[in-house]
Amino acid sequence: MRLQISTQLAIFAVLELAAREGQQLSVADIGEKYGVSSHHLAKVMHVMGRAGLVRSVRGAGGGYQLAGNARRTTLLDVVQLFEDPNSVEADGGTADATAEGQALRRVLSEIDDISRATLGSITIATMRKLVDRTDKSSRANTASKRG
């Protein structure tokens, strides 16, 4: 499964905000870490703001805060703002009515179900734990290579 750039940025932004609950981050801060333009990220944040996942804080030092609950918001909530997670679809027109088309649809539907179940069961809080574990493990690997 390949996610669009906007979807990936949205996930990264939510993860950054979840790591700093109660604080705010500017699009420039987030954009710098992931090497993306503030302009592109601002569009992404706007979509998430409309959906109630983040909120903007105006004024000096303004930026964005996480608005939702990181333990209840799942990756699926973020992904489906930007794309259809059921994107693996047969588009055979009349072929869909054939036994072959229906058999193919069953296989693609299995892929969709697994994708949805995966994205829908991983919350932002769970992703944060995964990020922390991955970071810890890569630091340990680096240290062992140096040693």
Partner: protein, 173 residues
């Protein structure tokens, strides 16, 4: 107070409540005297009483090959005079099925609905993880229906990821 602030405060309060409650959970091996409570808890959750099944499970997992089979219960230790069964977990070390090296396999986990979101499930999973490690395995597996969101969210939050095996099935004609 804004909805956003309220939700964040609720999340913080839930975390504090969970940490406090976790300290009041004691996990130990199941005993014969626990079985009536285990059977009642399962019947309440599944709405399908099956005393014979649980008696058999206890005979096999609570009394035999205890170095590799674990039937653990969680109880509240807030009130020692009236300990309450909060949940249970059952697992065993399985080896060589479908070429798998030995791993800890969790096949039952049940928590009293009134004790959920208070760290009971985590305490049970942590306790059985310790037992698996003592038994010499370093991988724990389980199987969850992908539409049971509560269980999926729980196991994911405990760091479990999809493993290298996929469950297959077919209708028997």
């Amino acid at each position: 107070m804004s909805r956003i602030r309220k939700e964040a405060d609720l999340a913080t309060a839930a975390k504090t409540r969970e940490a406090k409650a976790e300290a009041h959970v004691r996990v130990r091996r199941a005993r014969t005297a626990d079985m009536a409570k285990v059977i009642a808890l399962d019947a309440r959750i599944t709405e399908l009483p099956k005393p014979d099944y649980w008696t058999d499970v206890f005979r096999r997992y609570g009394k035999q090959r205890l170095n590799e089979r674990f039937f653990l219960v969680a109880e509240s230790r807030a009130d020692k005079s009236n300990t309450q069964l909060l949940g249970f977990i059952i697992g065993e070390v399985r080896a060589w099925e479908f070429g798998s090296t030995p791993c800890g396999w969790v096949f039952a986990l049940s928590v009293d609905p009134n004790a959920r979101l208070h760290g009971t499930g985590r305490a049970l999973l942590d306790a059985i993880s310790v037992e698996f490690k003592k038994a010499g395995v370093n991988k724990m597996r389980t199987m969850v229906a992908r539409d049971t969101l509560l269980q999926m969210l729980f196991f994911r939050s405990e760091g479990m990821m999809a493993g290298p095996y996929i469950q297959l099935e077919k209708d028997l004609e």
